[in-house]
């Protein structure tokens, strides 16, 4: 039996093509994935991300606990409402999950974790809580739904739908959030566009979804979500990284704080094992489509290196195929590489990513 979000019927009413996504019955698209992609880049689209799980952590020592639990430094969160992207690591330095930590008050932090990892994440967090700060309250919030509204016009359309939202949120900077009556509104996302991720009670989700639709926000499925996040150069857990990979080899060194004296789970392993691999961006020069698990062959200083595409696909904004690939750290921007696609060796270029930001191609 597939799990359903509170918007399941709303998706079906909008003729969504539904797919099994890690045990969840989710919309892949509502007719055309490409149109949904362009709508988000050019106007506004909305995604049901209620399969993701908000977890509230409450109590006096929440910050102390999070300092140890996650690899990024929650001491960067000084203003209430501020958000932080981070990995949660195993003691061996592998990535248990990537997540966002929202700082609401010294006694209330909210984290949002991936759907596929939610159960193991909660089990891990509870185990660490029991060891480090047993007085903290850890509450998975399946009573909440989550809708991401993304695109250059996303914020303005949300303001049309939620009374008073404009006054409450127009001064939010990127990665800031606020609470407005039953809505938790964060200026975050997974598309490379401006917009909000909005967490709200399950019972309000369908009416809110329909009101956004009436305001001209296009429903967008997991298909467009994947091409948008790939263009934005954002990792997908389970594909670009997992418990066997280090954040240092996953393009996430910027999220890991190894400088402060703070100890965190996985820190020693990262210090002991500097990365020998990296994630690179690829743009395909020949005709074709890059896909996950294809082999990348690169030459550098007379040596040959082999790597593997972790996420690949067609970029609707650039109109070429792009990919993220894991390969030896020696390979650098502008190196020429080839990718084995079926029986062919196609030429690709190593580029700095993101590939697309705020509607514009960067490569």
């Amino acid at each position: 039996m597939l799990k359903m979000t509170p918007l399941n019927q709303a998706h079906r009413d909008m003729n969504a093509k539904m797919v099994d996504f890690g045990g969840w019955d989710m919309p892949l698209h509502y007719g055309s994935q490409l149109e949904e992609h362009h709508k988000v880049r050019q106007d506004a689209g909305m995604f049901d991300v209620s399969h993701m799980l908000p977890v509230d952590i409450k109590g006096e020592n929440t910050r102390v606990f999070l300092r140890q639990l996650v690899a990024n430094n929650v001491d960067k969160l000084s203003i209430p409402g501020k958000a932080l992207y981070t990995c949660m690591l195993t003691p061996q330095g592998g990535i248990i999950d990537d997540l966002i930590v929202y700082f609401l008050s010294e006694s209330w932090f909210r984290i949002v974790v991936n759907a596929g990892t939610a159960e193991k994440d909660v089990a891990w967090i509870l185990k660490q809580r029991d060891a480090i700060a047993p007085e903290l309250e850890v509450t998975p919030r399946r009573d909440l739904a989550m809708i991401a509204v993304q695109g250059p016009n996303a914020r303005a359309k949300v303001w049309q739908v939620i009374p008073d939202a404009q006054a409450a949120t127009e001064n939010l900077k990127l990665f800031q959030s606020t609470v407005l009556s039953q809505y938790f509104i964060a200026r975050t996302g997974y598309t490379g566009e401006d917009g909000f991720e909005i967490i709200l009670p399950v019972d309000d989700a369908t009416a809110f979804w329909k009101a956004l639709h009436a305001a001209g926000v296009a429903p967008a499925g997991l298909g467009a979500r994947d091409t948008l996040r790939l263009e934005a150069g954002m990792n997908l857990y389970g594909q670009d990284m997992d418990e066997s990979t280090s954040p240092l080899a996953s393009g996430l060194t910027w999220t890991v704080d190894l400088k402060s004296e703070r100890d965190f789970i996985g820190k020693q392993a990262l210090l002991d094992n500097p990365a020998t691999q990296q994630l690179i961006g690829l743009v395909l020069l020949d005709r074709g489509v890059l896909r996950g698990h294809q082999t990348v062959v690169a030459q550098h200083d007379g040596n040959e290196y082999q790597g593997e595409i972790t996420s690949g696909g067609f970029s609707p904004t650039i109109n070429q195929s792009i990919a993220l690939a894991r390969i030896a750290s020696q390979i650098s921007i502008d190196d020429d590489v080839s990718v084995l696609v079926r029986d062919k060796k196609l030429r690709a270029k190593v580029v700095k990513y993101p590939f697309v930001r705020n509607g514009k191609a960067l490569v």
């Binding site: 892949l28 698209h29 994935q33 298909g223 074709g288 067609f314 609707p316 195929s321």
Partner: protein, 129 residues
């Protein structure tokens, strides 16, 4: 969408149109494009290539996946629809007119082994269960 009755079909979702000059035109069905989603890339066979029946000879890639296209019958490739290389979305828009390639059959009797519209309809119904 109804299945055109003047075409033949394969289990792998190609359609085959027997032309009056004895050649055949080949494409992928409406159902195939629906399963794949928005098409973004098509690789066509070389004109002049001799194909065996069921040989992989073209690739249709969507935003979601790559699908091999198989020769429904054996024969020589006599034309390809290179418009699809720049406009693969035509397969989504009108799959029964967006042909991929044409063959000169080497054994026209193989056409008799293909499905007719009713047989293809039955195949689709069985796939859904």
């Amino acid at each position: 969408m109804s299945i055109p009755t003047d075409l033949k079909y394969t289990n792998s979702h190609e359609w085959v149109k027997p032309e009056s000059d004895g050649t055949v035109t080949i494409g992928v069905t409406h159902h195939a494009q629906e399963l794949l989603g928005d098409m973004v890339f098509v690789e066509l066979p070389q004109v002049g290539r001799e194909l065996a029946q069921k040989e992989e000879c073209a690739v249709a890639e969507s935003v979601k996946a790559a699908a091999d296209v198989y020769a429904p019958i054996s024969g020589e490739v006599i034309a390809v629809n290179s418009d699809l290389e720049s406009e693969p979305e035509k397969i989504n828009q009108d799959s029964y007119n967006a042909w991929l390639f044409k063959l000169k059959p080497s054994n026209a009797a193989e056409l008799d082994g293909l499905l007719d519209a009713t047989g293809y309809q039955t195949l689709l119904e069985n796939e859904q269960h």
